[in-house]
Amino acid sequence: MVNPIGRDNPFFIVTPPLLWGVYFGVVYTVNGIACAKGIGGSLVGGMPMVNVVLIGSTAVTLILLAGLALMAWVRFRPVKDAGGHLHSDDPGLSAQARRRFVALAGLLQALLAIVATIYIGMQVFLSPNC
């Protein structure tokens, strides 16, 4: 089985936005169903339950994304100066450049996904549900 978030697997780059996509689908569906079916209004700790669920999903997503960002950072640091090897004929050096590319792109994706998740998540505090 191929490891989708392996060091050399470019799929790692799209993992953060994919996670964001799942998160987005979940919060949209939860709120949509809650409004359509009139459920989730019961209060938990002074907040409608559906909001608790939404905030919870936001938190879980943020934690996972932060983990991915950290993973990317750890991978990026040792090869941070390998950008110059992009043109190298040497398979070892060019592999380092490739690792740097995957790690950096993954890191940036994770950071952007975090921003996007915060944007979505904060709407819960700003807007009425239905």
Binding site: V115, Y119, M122, Q123, L126, S127, P128
Partner: protein, 283 residues
């Protein structure tokens, strides 16, 4: 854009700046800050736009009006405290200074309710009731129109919002509630008879004439009980009056092709005028 021009026309000045800084500050930091602010502001404004919610929060119960979209006109109902409703068409009368909650439904396709000077749009969707709350602060008349493409005569599907001084609004409702006036002159009697004889009643209703007759209770077209009091004909297609009325009856397919009313061009001139005069008398 100025930054682009700077780079294009003064290339020597820009060489010292590391490009990565430009991307990080210009492309990331700046938009994130601006967008965050905008996003918060949007959500805050968005919350306030719902006048109905705000009014209820202040303890002011909005006036309720039902609007039903039909290809290509608007049926307007005013539910009354006693459970009855007052029906009219293509005009929404409201008391000035009070929020009015409009319940929007459609009889056929999707329409969209839009009064540009009052509020944003809200769609009328089959199987749903959407709500929008509007408020006119001063007495007056403004125009609204259908904003979702709804077929052939989408262009000619407009309406008016008429705000009365608050104390006159109830009187207006009372007047609308009354059945149609009895025809007072022989010409008007002839007009009424023409209405019944030509089958107008299979689509239109005039409350108070020929009660119980199958010929006067149609619900396909607009309620005509007080058509004479309206500002316009054919969903704000023509001004009101005897001339436009007879023109509309005789040639509605020429004026608004494809609408659901056939042209009654076979009526002779006198009957047509009498019919128009009768309708015009229904204030």
């Amino acid at each position: 854009m100025a930054m682009f021009a700077f780079g294009l026309f003064m290339p020597e000045r820009t060489k010292g700046i590391p490009p990565i800084k430009l991307i990080v500050f210009g492309g990331v930091a700046f938009p994130v800050v601006v967008l965050t602010a905008l996003s918060v502001y949007t959500a805050a404004v968005g919350g306030k736009v719902d006048l109905g919610r705000n009014a209820r929060a202040e303890g002011r119960e909005p006036v309720r009006v039902n609007v039903d979209g039909v290809m290509w006109w608007w049926e307007v109902e005013y539910p009354q405290a006693d459970g009855s409703t007052v029906k009219s068409a293509n005009e929404i009368h409201v008391p000035a200074g009070r929020p009015v909650e409009i319940h929007l439904t459609t009889r056929d396709v999707i329409h969209s309710f839009w009064v540009p000077t009052l509020h944003g749009k809200m769609d009328l969707i089959p199987g749903r009731t959407n709500r929008i709350t509007i408020q006119m602060d001063e007495p007056g008349v403004v125009r609204g129109q259908c904003a979702e493409f709804c077929g052939l005569q989408h262009t000619l599907m407009s309406f008016w919002v008429v705000a009365h001084p608050p104390d006159e609004f109830d009187a207006w409702i009372e007047a609308q509630r009354r059945p149609a006036a009895e025809p007072a002159t022989p010409e008007l009697v002839r007009g009424r008879d023409a209405f019944l004889a030509s089958g107008c009643g299979s689509c239109h209703q005039i409350r108070g004439i020929a009660e119980g007759s199958a010929n006067a209770g149609g619900e396909i077209g607009p309620d005509l009980t007080h058509i004479g009091s309206r500002l316009s004909l054919g969903a704000a297609t023509l001004p009101n009056g005897i001339g436009p009325l007879s023109g509309w009856i005789a040639g509605s397919q020429q004026i608004k092709p494809g609408n659901r009313m056939p042209s009654y061009h076979h009526l002779d001139g006198e009957t047509l005028t009498a019919l128009a005069a009768y309708l015009e008398s229904l204030k």
